[in-house]
């Protein structure tokens, strides 16, 4: 039982995208994506209003692509009142970095990249003997960047439906001077009143799209006609079967002696490091195809990330240590 709508279905179909949005606006009714959008814009503007030196974490992945569009909606016609920050693990998919740089340039945004490589060289991040994954090493790299630029707030694209620890996190996630999250002692978050007050050295992580699901993200990408890196769409790639998933073969993931390399038609559903991101077999070549695929999916997106599988509390532990 929805409130009466002023615009008939037929006439709506003939309208352009801008016209469609205007038509929806004039009905005094917001659909679920418009609700999520206005919630996120409100949060973005609270950050701009309450913090002195915010940054927006931009990886080039689908969630942060939505964040950037929301930032445009929040702040245009002005420039974005915050730089973009990316922690480059050195194990990124090349397509992702190419896209990241290009998109930042299009927006006229200032992009700051800090690399794990560099943090290791400077002794900020210390790999354990034999540690190949850069997952843990992102944390000191990020914290060093926060200190270097004296950022008091970082906006991130984490969503609560991704993972059980994230499902518990507030929109405004308070971090102590070590960047740590204390899940048992979070600030109450009531109505849309966010408490952003900090003492010296403390920090806030803010997640405007906390309430978005994977489906919402793709529907928004479709509605806003947003470009995404090509690896989200179906392409041919040599893969090996490892740990129950298809891993892309590359210099960092060479096939082992007994493994069979297969050329598959795949796409990635969630992008992590090139050494831990599983590919899914898929013929999806458009955003619409992806939406249909997710609607029929029987596993979650994180099901294809080895980094979260290591234990039931892997994400919680990383967040407590200062992860995004």
């Amino acid at each position: 039982m929805r409130p009466a709508r002023r615009v008939g279905k037929k006439s709506r179909q003939r309208l352009s995208n801008a016209g469609k949005i205007a038509a929806l606006m004039s009905s005094y009714h917001l659909d679920h994506l418009q609700h999520l959008e206005t919630e996120a814009i409100h949060i973005m503007r609270e950050v701009a209003g309450e913090f002195e030196r915010p940054a927006l974490l931009f990886s080039g992945g689908k969630d942060s692509i939505c964040l950037l569009r929301l930032a445009e909606k929040a702040f245009r016609p002005s420039d974005l009142p915050m730089p973009l920050l990316n922690v480059d693990t050195g194990h990124h998919f090349p397509e992702l970095n190419e896209f990241r740089d290009r998109r930042a340039k299009q927006l006229g945004g200032k992009l700051i990249v800090r690399t794990v490589e560099d943090a290791i060289a400077k002794g900020i991040a210390q790999p354990a003997p034999g540690e190949i994954s850069r997952n843990r090493l992102q944390i000191p790299t990020l914290l060093a960047a926060i200190e270097e630029f004296r950022f008091d707030c970082c906006i991130g694209g984490a969503r609560r439906d991704e993972e059980k620890a994230r499902a518990k996190e507030r929109f405004f996630s308070f971090r102590d001077s070590f960047g740590q999250w204390d899940p048992k002692n979070q600030r109450p978050e009531i109505w849309n009143l966010y408490n952003g007050r900090l003492n010296q050295g403390e920090n806030m992580r803010v997640f405007p799209i906390s309430n978005w699901t994977e489906m919402d993200v793709w529907e928004y990408i479709q509605r806003e006609n947003l470009e995404v890196p090509s690896i989200y769409f179906s392409h041919k790639r040599p893969c090996v079967r490892r740990g129950g998933q298809w891993l892309p073969v590359n210099a960092l993931v060479p096939p082992k002696a007994h493994e069979e390399v297969r050329e598959l038609v795949v796409r990635v559903r969630t992008i992590g490091d090139i050494i831990s991101t599983g590919c899914v077999e898929s013929p999806a070549t458009t955003t619409g195809d992806i939406i249909a695929e997710i609607a029929a999916a029987r596993v979650t997106e994180r099901g294809s990330r080895a980094d979260d599988k290591s234990s039931e509390a892997a994400m919680e532990d990383r967040k407590k240590a200062g992860y995004f």
């Binding site: 709506r12 469609k20 929040a74 507030r170 009531i190 009143l193 195809d289 249909a292 029929a296 979650t300």
Partner: protein, 444 residues
């Protein structure tokens, strides 16, 4: 792979229903949400696998549906819920955002967090114990927050032999105190979260119950708009002034960005800018998708005004009809959320819309007695989880409405100075007088 209906580019409006579960520890809140997700086929294979893995380790082979939301290490170790967990699921009829909130008294602040944005609250009661103080506290908080719909889930009916008499008895316990609270719509459902009776599928054990299952009710309950479309309110979040724009037409652009907190705004409409108290006209409603003729609550917009007035973050733009109050003397109901009690005379920061001011608490008027649901006058203090009415004096006037009229312009939080802890949620009483624009002060 079916690519037809879903790839259509036409936006299909879908409602969102936000609800939360509350009740005491072990009443079965987390199990209920797990059951709802499981039986509505909203769980993915890897989530079911993870449940089965942890069942082998900790549950002696029995899967524990509560583990779906109890995601923190300490929660699984202690078998309790510590903080609000949000879950998302959709049926063809609606999208749902669930907040699973903890039952322990010390986590009441988290219950308020989960409930404040809800359209509907589910209060669980263990059929064996019936109504206890936590049931009354949670119902009182739901009433205070003005959550429009309440479901009383009388759970663990399997442990009382599916007795209709017991169901009616507990319902009567509720109906005895409900009239003292301001709640419009309450539904009672007998269920077993553990076995799934009346959660998604109707139970064969309750032939005497003719109402809907929980999911049936969630899918069809009428969500009246939470948003007030009467008096226009725009709390200014951010002043939008392009620096060195390349587009010459933007050289003098000065917009006021914010989320509309009430009413509708149209181009050409007269508004008053507070605290200046000056009337001006809306020249343009700017959005990223192009200018629009009108916008409404809760859209986010940027307004360009006719006159150059001193407006900054914390200012409030309001329409000329349905005027708000503007005062430094305030009265409000608060839910106290911190271990350090509320002290009269102490200073706090008060955040109301986008405006933060210093306040001091001048009086604690009363405190809600949860045993009787009557108010005890003039208590010495309000401790953690207490609900009471207070008076405050603010360093600068607040432009506000009563919470009953407008949730967004009638609510505030209190922040302790020094620790920056959020210590209270406040709901403002209606202003004693509203601002009067006709006295001339307000016209340029």
């Amino acid at each position: 792979m079916p690519l037809t209906a879903l790839s259509s580019a036409t936006p299909v409006p879908v409602d969102i229903l936000r609800f939360n579960t509350c009740g005491s520890v072990d009443d079965g809140k987390s199990t209920l949400i797990g059951r709802l997700l499981y039986d509505s086929k909203s769980l993915m294979e890897d989530q079911i696998e993870a449940l089965e893995r942890s069942a082998d380790i900790t549950g002696g082979g029995q899967i524990n549906l509560a583990n779906l939301t109890d995601g923190l290490r300490a929660e699984r170790e202690q078998g309790i819920t510590i903080d609000v967990a949000y879950r998302y699921f959709a049926t063809p009829r609606r999208k749902f955002i669930i907040a699973d909130t903890p039952g322990h008294v010390q986590y009441t602040r988290n219950m308020v967090t989960g409930a404040s944005s809800a359209n509907l609250s589910i209060i669980l009661v263990d059929a064996r114990t019936g109504v206890i103080e936590q049931s009354r506290r949670h119902t009182a908080i739901a009433a205070l927050l003005r959550i429009p719909h309440l479901v009383v889930a009388i759970n663990k009916m399997d442990l009382v032999g599916w007795s209709e008499a017991r169901f009616l008895e507990i319902r009567a316990q509720f109906e005895e105190f409900l009239p003292r609270l301001d709640i419009k719509d309450v539904k009672f459902i007998p269920m077993s979260a553990l076995n799934g009776d009346n959660v998604v599928d109707a139970s064969v054990h309750t032939p005497w119950y003719v109402g809907p299952t929980l999911l049936g009710h969630l899918e069809t309950v009428h969500i009246a708009s939470d948003w007030n479309l009467n008096g226009f309110r725009l709390p200014v979040q951010w002043v939008n002034r392009p620096n060195n724009p390349t587009d010459a037409s933007l050289h003098d652009f000065r917009g006021f960005s914010g989320q509309i907190a009430g009413g509708i705004v149209r181009t050409g409409q007269k508004i008053i800018a507070f605290p200046a108290g000056i009337v001006t006209t809306v020249k343009q409603i700017w959005t990223y998708d192009g200018p629009v003729d009108e916008a409404f609550c809760p859209q986010s917009v940027t307004l360009v005004l006719e006159h150059d007035i001193d407006i900054s973050r914390g200012s409030m733009l309001v329409g000329l009809d349905h005027l708000p109050g503007s005062n430094t003397e305030l009265q409000a109901e608060v839910c106290w959320m911190h271990a350090r009690p509320l002290q009269p005379g102490k200073r706090y920061y008060l955040k109301h819309t986008t405006h933060t001011v210093q306040v001091s608490v001048t009086e604690i008027v009363n405190k809600l007695n949860l045993a009787t649901l009557e108010s005890d006058p003039a208590p010495a203090e309000l401790g953690v989880n207490d609900i009471g009415e207070i008076r405050l004096r603010a360093a600068k006037p607040l432009v506000f409405d009563g919470y009953a009229i407008n949730r967004l312009t009638g609510s505030f939080i209190l922040i302790e100075q020094g620790t920056n802890a959020t210590v209270a949620a406040g709901m403002l009483r209606p202003p004693r007088e509203i601002v009067k624009p006709e006295n001339g002060d307000y016209v340029i």
